[in-house]
């Protein structure tokens, strides 16, 4: 009995792999097209359109603009009681926007955004591969889903890179998956799977860090347009550095200084440390 069940599983696995390999060019083409048109967090319109087009053609029921996010989607196939979700990401970011993290957790360089604005948008975190893998895995399971009692979904989750961007979109304070979670999009999902590209040829698991970002807008009452002069900016930067040094947790931080004497100053703190989230909630 057991061997028969094992044979069945082996055959099912080969069928899944066969289905993925048979459409190899399509998935690679999809990922390559997303790579060729990098789009910033929450603005991944072309990428979301491309992915949902492929999934709709494969027979998935597609819901676009999920939970009020225009570039989020949920695509499902099958009617089984066990609901597995594959998370796709497809946002790009300018390369090297993050400071040299090999020195963490010491205080890292302070850099000024205006000097870096010529950095082009690229898929520097390889999220097009995450999208391609999610679509391929879900499509590979499609024909078997009902037979093995599965519902298979692809979750299109925009803006994974929100916290690391030099200029995050205004008004968006939560990354795509967090917004979807809060809106209940993951309700009824039994497990969520994704795979992320990394250097080396190997596959592995690695713990991730806790990130917390705060952005401050400084202004001076009475000044023209609430702006700050050069002297104020210097004072502010020195004070910020001193305040942060006096804290136990040392953040990675950078500070943006818009040009001109009258502009207000904007500062960002990106904290990388465990136990910060608990501290924030407490």
């Amino acid at each position: 009995m057991k061997t028969r069940a094992q044979d069945k599983t082996t055959r099912a696995k080969e069928q899944v792999r066969g289905a993925i390999e048979a459409q190899r060019d399509r998935f690679v083409g999809l990922a390559h097209a997303i790579h060729a048109h990098p789009e910033l967090a929450f603005a991944e319109e072309q990428a979301a359109a491309r992915i949902t087009e492929v999934l709709a053609a494969e027979g998935f029921a597609v819901r676009t603009g999920a939970c009020g996010l225009p570039t989020a989607f949920v695509a499902s196939v099958g009617h089984g009681p066990l609901h597995m979700a594959f998370c796709a990401e497809y946002d790009a970011l300018p390369p090297s926007i993050m400071v040299d993290r090999s020195k963490a957790p010491e205080l890292m360089e302070v850099w000024l955004t205006p000097e870096r604005q010529d950095v082009p948008l690229r898929h520097a975190c390889g999220h097009h591969l995450i999208a391609g893998a999610a679509v391929a895995a879900a499509t590979g399971l499609r024909d078997l889903a009902d037979e093995v009692g599965l519902t298979v979904s692809v979750f299109g989750t925009p803006a994974e890179e929100l916290l690391g961007l030099p200029n995050p979109p205004p008004g968006r304070l939560a990354a795509g998956k967090i917004t979807l979670l809060e809106a209940g999009a993951f309700e009824g999902i039994h497990a969520a799977l994704m795979v992320h590209p990394a250097p080396t040829p190997w596959s592995f698991f690695l713990p991730t860090q806790v990130y917390l970002r705060q952005r401050a807008q400084f202004s001076r009452a009475g000044a023209a347009g609430g702006g700050l002069g050069e002297a104020w900016l210097r004072l502010l930067e020195a004070t910020l550095r001193r305040t942060m040094r006096s804290l136990q947790q040392v953040p990675v931080h950078y500070m943006a200084r818009p040009e001109g004497e009258t502009a207000g100053a904007q500062a960002d703190l990106l904290w990388i440390a465990p136990s910060l989230v608990q501290g924030l909630r407490a």
Partner: protein, 180 residues
Amino acid sequence: MRHCFGEAASEAGVAVEVDTYAPYPELRNDPRLRACYRRHAQALGRLRAKDVRIQEELCSIFADARVPLWARLLNRLLPRLVSPPDLFLEKLPVKFMGATDFASVSQLIPAIHPFIGIGGLAAPHSLEFAVQADSEEAYRAMLDGAVALAWTALDAATDPALRAYLLQAASFSRKRGWHT
């Protein structure tokens, strides 16, 4: 920490408005799904232990005179006992750290977030990584990752114990108030 900006602003005598973004918590890989994925990654030749370099690494370690003779002998006799295949699995030739909003998902429902190697040594978020991510090797990794994920989902569906565990574990509750 929360008052860092406020203190700086009051010392400098300016007004401040602070936006706090939803934090990325720690990633939690479900141990059962993780074991499934790992088995499949091994079947697809994606575990580092299969590489010759790991053997060289082990040889150099055990050739060291500081390693006791009994350990070297034992390693010769029972290599898998002294150096299990997973020993060097998490050791990477490059520094690689990051955070992800998927961690929030993983805190609430069983989840895995494995990494799949696309070759090269460039760290993510570099221009070199963006170029490498469009290579033939990268797309091969993408498809291998897809197969391993799909097989993991298939295991979840067909392994009675795993299936029961996942169906029970779905005590999902909405997560609110990250910015309190």
